[in-house]
Symmetry: C2
DNA sequence: TCCTTTATAGTCCAAAAAAGACGGTCTAAC
DNA sequence: GTTAGACCGTCTTTTTTGGACTATAAAGGA
């Protein structure tokens, strides 16, 4: 164990999800990501296989492999992993957002605003509606962080709808 | 020329900037990026050296190399390049934004909202102020797309300030 | 003139991530 | 039994990131 590795956002996503889940297979992580995180931090499914392996090698996760059948790997956060996650969480970051909006990029380079807006408005509206539905369904039991990041997403989607709508007319 | 390559957002950034500039060296592209695009689509400076090379090989750019001194490479968009850029610009995209905010990620995983907000509010305020200054200074001559994407950035920064501020108290 | 500093300009490499093709395994319904 | 479809995992290639490192030119001082 414990070859030192660089801990990236991907690492913390895996650590964070596993800490919440207790124990999980990459496939299960994949489901969770799709249901929650994917909306604001996309991640390749293959990485949910390779990253836990990497983390396990460095001692942040423990691995249990099924004997028969699919020989699935089940991962669990170790003390070292928990420690790393904690100290990451505790250090408030001043880093700024990365936006990466393909539509905005085209706009920047002179694409027709109206045409672009026509394509963007409906998708953002749908997204917004989806978020709001999710928020409404979210019980009081849901973790605060989850609700807050969802609310942030809603704020930004509103902004997108406002922005593109104004370009439509 | 003309081994086929995949055109990525990076490719279109280079094509778009070069089309606007007429002719430029990677270093000049680097300056332009830093002054405009970097705020909403970060790009590694090394890529501004490798990507033009790739594009030139595929026939989208022409290259002229200085004889003496630094032997700088100057790139220019070819007809094929212009064509590729055009057709990319014309096709309105329905792709969604990627957000990638490290702070939001921490929030999601349960970091202390107040502490995070304390770090985030000032940087977003600074960013917002910077954008607004830029917009104010931007002459009427500036391309519409540039102004619009700046305005979009302002909208999102306002939203960030609003969001994090509300978590401070 | 020569030297030093600072800005300018470019290269390189290892690690990580993206994109997406591909291949197995299980189950349940026919 | 077999087969469709869902479940689950691996692999390869290309791109991107992060950041160290080097070199050239210009400007100002000794």
């Amino acid at each position: 164990m414990s070859s030192e590795i660089r801990l990236t956002p991907t690492s913390f996503i895996v650590l964070g999800l596993l800490e919440a889940a207790g124990e999980a297979t990459p496939y299960e992580l994949k489901q969770v990501v799709a249901a929650s995180l994917a909306d604001f931090w996309s991640i390749q499914h293959a990485q949910l296989y390779s990253e836990p392996e990497r983390l396990a090698q460095a001692g942040y996760l423990s691995e249990r492999r099924e004997e028969g059948g699919r020989r699935r790997r089940h991962y669990k956060v170790t003390a070292a992993g928990r420690q790393a996650l904690r100290s990451w969480l505790e250090k408030p970051t001043a880093e700024l957002t990365e936006l990466r909006d393909p539509g905005l990029l085209k706009l920047f380079f002179g694409a027709n605003p109206k045409a672009l807006a026509g394509a963007q408005v409906p998708v953002h509206q749908r997204k917004l509606a989806g978020y709001e539905k999710l928020l409404a369904e979210m019980g009081a039991a849901a973790p605060a962080g989850m609700r807050l990041s969802l609310e942030s997403g809603i704020g930004h989607e509103r902004e997108w709808v406002r922005f593109w709508s104004q370009l439509v007319e």
